[in-house]
């Protein structure tokens, strides 16, 4: 039995140069990067829509590079979802089963409709569905034929922020439940962080796993405005100076800063430095040329990201964490 659900080796296609990535069976991989980086090209090459110039694609251990998309058993959710506008929800979901001449189509479709709680939509046409409903139909259509791999190209981009978060969480739950190897493209770091088992950062057609975008979100227990658009944010056991204009002390705020906005050192800075707090390393994980750290400070866990060469210096020691003032964003907490 093959260990990997997806393996891409030395892939050259369109803008992509020498792409290597692998996903274990049932893992959710996120391809993260700016627009035009080659994210969609990568999905197209894996699905077979695009023929690569070079390199191999293996799905569940089987080399599919020369197999046309219709015989790869891949489900692909496009950015615009690509529902068939002329077919009802039921017919949309039944489509992959019909073309594969599967049996018990009605039962299978009804099962997944029920599972995704969209049974009441079965006779509706996509043109009359809301964004969230369309999303669920697209997911149902992708899952119904039991694909070996699920590819998703920014499927939540058309939704508003709140809906996006809700659907995303729901989606991750469904995917995990079905244990389908998934490769998911996004340019939203929050989305990447929340969804991924493993993250591939892609830039100018190359995978660069040296950037970290894990976001720390800490609830501020008390906020005291200072002059010049600053405030002291209290986190019970430590405080940070944060950039915020006239915060309302009666409202709840959250401080957000990425793992990249943290500097970790084994010794106290020789000169007094803003936002220096003491902490302990709870866990670490290698990610390309970087180390991702989970740091405990007071009763809060903070994620940090340091270059590999610094690891030896701080390994096993208590550390000083410096949170870059400019990297902090203060947001009102939304319920």
């Amino acid at each position: 039995m093959a260990e990997f659900g997806l393996e891409v080796t030395s892939l050259y296609a369109g803008i992509l140069k020498n792409i290597n990535l692998s996903l274990k069976k049932g893992e959710i991989g996120v391809v993260f990067g700016p627009n035009g980086a080659g994210k969609t090209t990568l999905l197209n090459a894996i699905s077979g829509i695009l023929t690569p110039k070079n390199g191999r694609v293996r799905i569940n251990g089987k080399d599919v590079t020369d197999i046309p998309p219709e015989h790869r058993n891949v489900a692909y959710i496009f950015q615009n979802l690509a529902l068939f506008p002329h077919l009802t929800v039921f017919e949309n979901i039944a489509f992959p089963l019909k073309v594969k001449k599967e049996k018990n189509i009605k039962e299978k479709v009804e099962f997944i409709l029920k599972k995704l709680e969209i049974s009441e939509l079965e006779n509706r046409f996509p043109g009359k569905l809301s964004g969230g409903e369309k999303q669920r139909v697209a997911i149902a259509r992708a899952l119904v034929s039991n694909p070996d791999i699920l590819l998703m190209d920014e499927p939540f981009s058309s939704l508003d922020f709140e809906m996006r978060k809700f659907i995303r969480q729901e989606f991750v739950g469904i995917i995990k439940n079905y244990r389908i190897t998934t490769l998911f493209v996004t340019h939203d770091p929050y989305e990447a962080e929340e969804t991924a088992d493993i993250i591939f950062t892609i830039k100018n057609g190359k995978i660069e796993n040296n950037q970290n975008f894990e976001i720390n979100r800490l609830k501020i227990s008390r906020i005291k405005p200072l002059n010049n658009g600053m405030a002291i944010a209290d986190f019970e056991t430590f405080s940070l100076i944060v950039p915020v204009c006239n915060p309302n002390p009666d409202k709840n705020y959250i401080a957000e800063f990425s793992a990249d906005s943290i500097y970790v050192s084994s010794f106290k800075p020789p000169v007094p430095t803003l936002n220096t707090i003491k902490g302990k390393i709870v866990s670490h994980r290698k990610n390309g040329e970087r180390i991702i750290l989970k740091l405990l400070t007071g009763n809060r866990i903070i994620t940090g990201n340091i270059p590999l060469y610094m690891w030896n210096e701080i390994k096993g020691k208590d550390v000083f964490i410096i949170v870059k003032y400019r990297g902090i964003k203060v947001k009102e907490e939304t319920k």
Partner: protein
């Protein structure tokens, strides 16, 4: 229902004005007969069987020419929409021939086929083929490539893709062509009959002219108008049925 009656009011008004103007003392009835007399003539011609017979002859020619033109236009249009090579071969020829009015072919067809049903049928074929072909090509090109790719990744082969995705999604464009050309086909058929053949509604018009029977001519024109309205209604009805997904919330 109220809306339908509202649409009919101007039509009734038009007939009323026609009746009134024709009944003015200075207007001779043999040149401009009142609406009521045209209706009486129409009923007489129906009773005689002449009008019914010639209407069926015209409809038969229009039916065959329009059906053949439509099917050929859709098939070739879909093929050209899918295959860029075929499109590059056919489209320049279509661009060259399309501007020629279909009735312009009638003299040539008369020389080629003589007095034969082939003349109006081919003229109608030409009239319906080009716009439907062009709309079908446009229809295929307008199908979202993601939808096609989605169907492919789901396992659809080329034939399934054409039958279940490309053709249905091209239908809105094809119907645009059909709506325009269904009426145009009838007009082309009548003109061909006027020029080339001693049967059909066109021939009846010419007969009316040679007998200076203006009532007969008006009765035939009224029939043509009525048939046009029915054809138009039929195509729109069909469109509503076929493109149910564009208008309805559900099936």
């Amino acid at each position: 229902m109220g809306r339908k009656i509202k649409t009919l009011i101007p039509v009734f008004l038009f007939f009323a004005v026609w009746e009134t103007v024709a009944r003015l003392p200075s207007v001779p009835h043999y040149l401009f007969p009142p609406f009521s007399k045209v209706i009486i003539k129409l009923l007489e011609e129906i009773a005689k069987g002449d009008l019914v017979k010639n209407t069926f002859i015209t409809l038969y020619r229009v039916g065959i020419g329009f059906f053949a033109g439509t099917i050929t236009g859709i098939v070739l249009g879909l093929a050209s929409g899918i295959s860029e090579k075929l499109n590059e071969t056919i489209s320049p020829i279509v661009a060259l021939l399309y501007p020629i009015p279909s009735i312009g072919w009638i003299p040539v067809l008369m020389v080629w086929f003589g007095i034969s049903d082939a003349v109006p049928i081919i003229a109608i074929f030409i009239c319906s083929f080009f716009p439907i072909y062009m709309n079908a090509v446009r229809g295929v090109k307008s199908v979202d490539s993601n939808v096609i790719n989605a169907a492919r990744t789901m396992g659809a082969n080329k034939l399934t893709l054409i039958k279940n995705v490309i053709l249905p999604l091209s239908m809105p464009n094809i119907f645009t062509g059909l709506k325009i050309e269904s009426g145009m086909s009838l007009r082309t058929g009548v003109v061909a009959e006027m020029l080339a053949i001693p049967s059909g509604l066109g021939y009846m018009l010419m007969k009316g002219e040679s007998l200076i029977d203006v009532k007969l001519m008006f009765a035939v024109l009224l029939s043509i108008a009525l048939i046009s309205v029915i054809i138009d209604f039929g195509v729109k009805f069909l469109e509503k049925k076929v493109l149910i997904w564009q208008n309805s919330a559900s099936k």
